[in-house]
Symmetry: C2
Subunit: 282 residues, 2 copies
Amino acid sequence: MDTLHHTTQALRLKDTHTRFVLEIEYCGAMFFGWQRQDGFQTVQASIEDALLQVIGNKNRDCLNNKRIIVHGSGRTDTGVHALKQIAHIEIPKTIDFDPDKIQYGLNYYLQDSGTCIVKIGIAPFDFHARFSAIKRAYRYTILNRRAPSVLLLERAWHVRHELDLEKMTDAANLLIGTHDFTSFRDTDCQAKSPIRTIESIDIIKTDDLIHIDLAAKSFLHHQVRIMIGTLQKIGSGRYPPSTIVNILDAKKRSAAGPTAPAFGLYFKNVIYPDSITPDILK
Amino acid sequence: MDTLHHTTQALRLKDTHTRFVLEIEYCGAMFFGWQRQDGFQTVQASIEDALLQVIGNKNRDCLNNKRIIVHGSGRTDTGVHALKQIAHIEIPKTIDFDPDKIQYGLNYYLQDSGTCIVKIGIAPFDFHARFSAIKRAYRYTILNRRAPSVLLLERAWHVRHELDLEKMTDAANLLIGTHDFTSFRDTDCQAKSPIRTIESIDIIKTDDLIHIDLAAKSFLHHQVRIMIGTLQKIGSGRYPPSTIVNILDAKKRSAAGPTAPAFGLYFKNVIYPDSITPDILK
């Protein structure tokens, strides 16, 4: 439905508007998540406000007094960071839009906000940051040592007791593939179907850091953090790796482990089909 | 002279005191450098204050009402980070000192201060954090891309124009070895001799980040940052790599490039002779 609506709208605006893609970085600690919400500092609202300063105010007529909406590839929760979030905007062709100048202007207004625009470029008109995505990648970082870290404060989950990577890897392998992930989604999750396909989970340890890289076309609400909270319990020896099978079968949130903290999670990348991938993302 | 004094003092305290080594991490942005200075938040003072809370106050008699002094391997300036700073302390044998409990207590008092104790362990009595060091390693990180980074704010030097790594490497190779580094030290530098021996400079690029790893027995005041500021000018094409020879020959500070910002610099490691390296550092 959404995709159909998107296609219809795209056809309608194609002759009058140009689509631009934004590559965005943000520090989750500075925001109440991605999505605009009245009264809260969010990433989407911050960038939309900066767009108002840089192009909105002086082009009110071309924009019919409407805000330029930033369409993200997906929402992230309060505290979750982004190394590479992707979004698109639609700009009327009547507006003089130089990507380099606009990027410079936006970053000027976003100074000290906790987000910045890493790249801006033209996108094909049938590119949609959210609906065109074929893969999303996240990284979760655990600091696994006795002592805390000041340089990784709010950048990693500090787990004091040693985690067993072999057990975590065995458990992760049972999550890969297509499953009903009811046990691994927040009870408030709005997605129609709890079925998702996890493409890969790779666990890499360097010194005291455990990086867990996950990829799927899309994830359910809190799915990555509940999977990580469960893998952490298994790595601690609390449950054997085979528990994953029972948790999946149970199809209830209470069967899985706790939701891991948001600040260890990084939105890492989005992949689109080659044919519509904007040049700046290649 | 200092070393002789150290040895004499060590012999005097050997029967009554135990030496402990601390591995310390800190975020330079939170401190006015390492060294205790009245009225300023420094790393040394913060850890000494925490020691007062954890063991000082309840052992006033054993300590003859004196503070426990934290002897660092070297000072760092305001803004400079430490991944692994090393220090030692001397504790009277009459005090019950359980390293694990003390570490936990110190990190409790140091919460949100910007520094933490990564490890504590016993050191041989002839180990001195500063005088025993045979090698110090620093890392300097440059973010080399148009856009700033919010996740690396105050963690890397942002250089917008592309740097030529080959030129920087050629120039770095001319700094390696034993030279009179008068041109590369702050005019306030107190060291008796401007002669130093740079053991290695390795330049590694990963994505948008350029890491420059440097090692020497010791460095002059601001030496690393002036070398980096000069390498950056050479990488920008402002001067050819061979300029390094002229700068060294000039033996005056104004011949070299600017001092690179402190917040890109990380104190990375200290190496001691095998025979006296404390177990926790092995």
